[in-house]
Symmetry: D2
Subunit: 338 residues, 4 copies
Amino acid sequence: MQIGMIGLGRMGSNMVLRLLRAGHQCIVYARNPDSMAGLVAEGAIGASDLADFCAKLETPRHLWIMIPAGAVDSVIEGLLPHLSPGDTLIDGGNSHYREDLVRAERLALEGIHYVDCGTSGGVWGLERGYCLMIGGETQVVERLDPIFASLAPGADSIERTAGRSGPVSRSEMGYLHCGPNGAGHFVKMVHNGIEYALMGAYAEGLNLLKHAGAGRQDRATDAETAPLSHPEHYQYDLDLAEVTEVWRRGSVVASWLLDLTANALAEDPELKGFSGRVSDSGEGRWTCLAAIETGTPAPLLTTALYERFSSRGEGDFANQILSAMRYQFGGHHEKPAD
Amino acid sequence: MQIGMIGLGRMGSNMVLRLLRAGHQCIVYARNPDSMAGLVAEGAIGASDLADFCAKLETPRHLWIMIPAGAVDSVIEGLLPHLSPGDTLIDGGNSHYREDLVRAERLALEGIHYVDCGTSGGVWGLERGYCLMIGGETQVVERLDPIFASLAPGADSIERTAGRSGPVSRSEMGYLHCGPNGAGHFVKMVHNGIEYALMGAYAEGLNLLKHAGAGRQDRATDAETAPLSHPEHYQYDLDLAEVTEVWRRGSVVASWLLDLTANALAEDPELKGFSGRVSDSGEGRWTCLAAIETGTPAPLLTTALYERFSSRGEGDFANQILSAMRYQFGGHHEKPAD
Amino acid sequence: MQIGMIGLGRMGSNMVLRLLRAGHQCIVYARNPDSMAGLVAEGAIGASDLADFCAKLETPRHLWIMIPAGAVDSVIEGLLPHLSPGDTLIDGGNSHYREDLVRAERLALEGIHYVDCGTSGGVWGLERGYCLMIGGETQVVERLDPIFASLAPGADSIERTAGRSGPVSRSEMGYLHCGPNGAGHFVKMVHNGIEYALMGAYAEGLNLLKHAGAGRQDRATDAETAPLSHPEHYQYDLDLAEVTEVWRRGSVVASWLLDLTANALAEDPELKGFSGRVSDSGEGRWTCLAAIETGTPAPLLTTALYERFSSRGEGDFANQILSAMRYQFGGHHEKPAD
Amino acid sequence: MQIGMIGLGRMGSNMVLRLLRAGHQCIVYARNPDSMAGLVAEGAIGASDLADFCAKLETPRHLWIMIPAGAVDSVIEGLLPHLSPGDTLIDGGNSHYREDLVRAERLALEGIHYVDCGTSGGVWGLERGYCLMIGGETQVVERLDPIFASLAPGADSIERTAGRSGPVSRSEMGYLHCGPNGAGHFVKMVHNGIEYALMGAYAEGLNLLKHAGAGRQDRATDAETAPLSHPEHYQYDLDLAEVTEVWRRGSVVASWLLDLTANALAEDPELKGFSGRVSDSGEGRWTCLAAIETGTPAPLLTTALYERFSSRGEGDFANQILSAMRYQFGGHHEKPAD
């Protein structure tokens, strides 16, 4: 079927390629015309501006927006004059699900349908397919089925879940209509919250393996250094690239994130290219905010988020307070770094 | 090659089957003769007691012990009179790596080699193969290579790690000589510590999805109940079996643990068969103890462990103290369960 | 000076008593006339309704509102027809500071001043005085100084902070103009967030002391129970009422919350009157929401909050998922409670 | 009564002064004779070596050891040849309670009594008195009562606990016989574990107050920076020295640690003298180890400990792994520090 794509960054342009390969007709638009050239060479139809973009789409139009969350509303405003009742806007980016609720209501006034679609897959999605978490009206989501089915990985990529039988469901193809508007981005939000903690779990464990030789170092014996009772228990020198590699097969901790970690450590076992300032881009925060608002305990998800904040120095003043307290009650002076 | 297996529980008997299928000769022994019958039918040779078991093994013997960690030392004591210098004992269970250090030293006095082998794979290992993390002397570990290679999943089960080239390494087959004695169980210990936090991450996220309809319930408005500012933001009714299914394909959180969670939810979406008392079996604790001793931050791994303790009621008294404090300073009375 | 007080619950009525004792004139109003009787006997002037209440106050009026956060806006609406430009409304309850921003703006349109005052002290404030954290316009806050000074504990209650000299500041009297509107409730919010974690710290430590005899119990030795390597290390039977008592004097952990804990344990060492379902009333949540929104790590504050959620069963489904996963990968069955 | 004190650092010498002032006879010894001079001037009797020290003490001797935990055993070995059956050794330092168990057993073979005494009070103890947590045989502890009573703060320092009546208990004087050997240091250990989390609670809260103006800064709008939805909610500039001061009186979070924090902020509101590398000296670790071994959830205590590890850079590699993973799945590049 025909679909328009606005936003041709890493995600958007790969999605267009995947749709073209599946035989769909893609009208594409991005502010920077250079980003369109490659796709046009692959068969996409470029548009010169939003008006042209909308004009090139048959009604009822299907427009997929794939841009940073902060820019979505202004693009929608730019599109509105060129849209007609019955058209459908799909936000495939990382919007907060609450924005979906507001947008869906506002667009409904114009007779325009809104679909929120959480999209996971990153730079690997072109090849692997994208996992799609969709919110919106049932009929509208149904109508877009050929698009979702082409973007998703399909059922054959892995073994079927035990206990499932009969015809393959859409979830088994890698896309799911989660519920009314916002439900798609809600599920994607929690997905990312989980992702933070999964990442943190591997990171903490590997960091501990890196400390397995702690007993081999000389250790200060001053009152400001906790003693290590049994240095002979910490004499190992473990090869983390090999450890992550061996865990990829047959172990309980095998995962795609582990595969990627093995990639990274195979390329650079010391990870010298990274200083350890870890960004967070919103969804992890929103997940924890939702946990707090609904009274749901989520200590792992939230601690993982806070570790990122700390990695960027946001906890430094708290640490200065701790040192100041220790000086106050015990006369303890801070130890300099080794 | 020939190997003896002591302990024919879920893990041990499946490992014998996998070894038999690979053409190895297996001498087996378990206290309960019934557990041997099935394996003998598949080609294993049963032994009537430890003496008979050792007599049936050619020297230098290779004996694999696959029993609960607490029973290993007494079995070793029982075996010792029947062993000869040059024999090798492999502990494939979940021993603490510190016990490996003690055992290796003690057995070396008798000229007997000791290998510690952390084994991951659970009830699925027969089919998928086992991930093996091995500690011991290089020559001894090399000699056992055919056994390890047969137990491990092999390289073909998944795609090769980016950045790896040349001949396939043992880690890519699914087994790794991690270092001297204890190193295998050390790596396995941290593997399980990671596992706890991975599991906790999914559990917290799915529990949050289950709370996505929090705004649909009537909410008490007394001073003991925190208000929910925007109930309209929490109106979803999400199908968790479908959500875990869709995440299996193409998403960043895809993993084997997620596959299993999807299995569980496909069978019983409400998980009515489980009350939520979660056991822990040692390795998670040892991981956190090692983190503390080496001064390595591991808040996610440790919080995941503590969540299990709490699930078993071990935090109840702490909660009673909190209620008692609240009563003391503010006259707050505890609210009964709904 | 003259002040009106609306809301005569535990907090409001004690504050009126404290103000009366300091020589202020208090006009009081509460829906339930019974709650006024005692105060009128002590010298307060009762009002029959909001109109009467406002009529009895000299202009410019000073009205202190001390009611549940959820009821403040409707009371303000009820008061507005009876107020005049130049009047001042003080919200001394536990409003979210964001509501202060909205209210201050709305009231400014009517020429009415708004002051937000976070009030700590609970049922003990009558005797100890109240700690006041105030937000609002400087001139307005200055004008109310006699009221704040009378409610606060005063400087003499404890030793002066090292490094302070010269005239006693208001903060040393126990009240502080923290900044513009919202600043008072913001500081009070974080105060309560800290309170949750302080409480949790004592609760966890005392619970651990309660487990100091863990080695004296028989311990199951099945595969679902982590072993306790050295039961001889956990043979103590500690008297928690005595421990909290001894910590009250000379120790680093001495605090008012500890005093209260000692009270509670002196009355009932087993805390049998409490089941351990711990409420939270908003501020702790708002603190953690602010931490997340500003990118500030607050793992202790947030974990303390989550422990409360868990105490009320909100983490049960997460635990069921963990048990279900363990069953899936290892065939582990849940252990029933002892 | 007469007592010998070995170790005249900050703690030991202040304790001798307090004992001298109470009329006790003190024999003192330290390696460095300079540290004895001041105390001798105050009436203590100096010793030239361990033999002289023991010779100057009447039998049965009472010797108090106040030195770093790591040096206690060698000092005991040095003392043993000069001791007689019936003598009593008190370890008032920060030994692990497990060492107490070993020492008590070993000394009992020589007929020598051992008392473990956890001592809290830091540099303030001379003036405030010391909180003493004592383990040992009842008769031996009773015999030392005059010493403990003089070191402790006494009952009058604060108000009596509600619900206590009758004669003042020793716990109300500030010292407690907690149980058999090890019980004193066990209680002191948990005391310090609690202390870490109390400190962390204040530190996190104050750090959050420091971020209360987060909305006033320009904020990058790239995909690596989580958006701040409502910068207008974070416009405060709070004076932390004043906030900690006001909390000291009448608030629920009042404590001695808060008093010290107010001291520190009064002296240096920016805490420029501290870089934020926070030491830990053993007890906090031991507390968490005990929590894990006994299966007691202690997430706050442990997270507080881990925050200290992280403050010293021990989590850096974990953060590098997170950045490497983000690069792998999403092509995200690390953002440099501002």
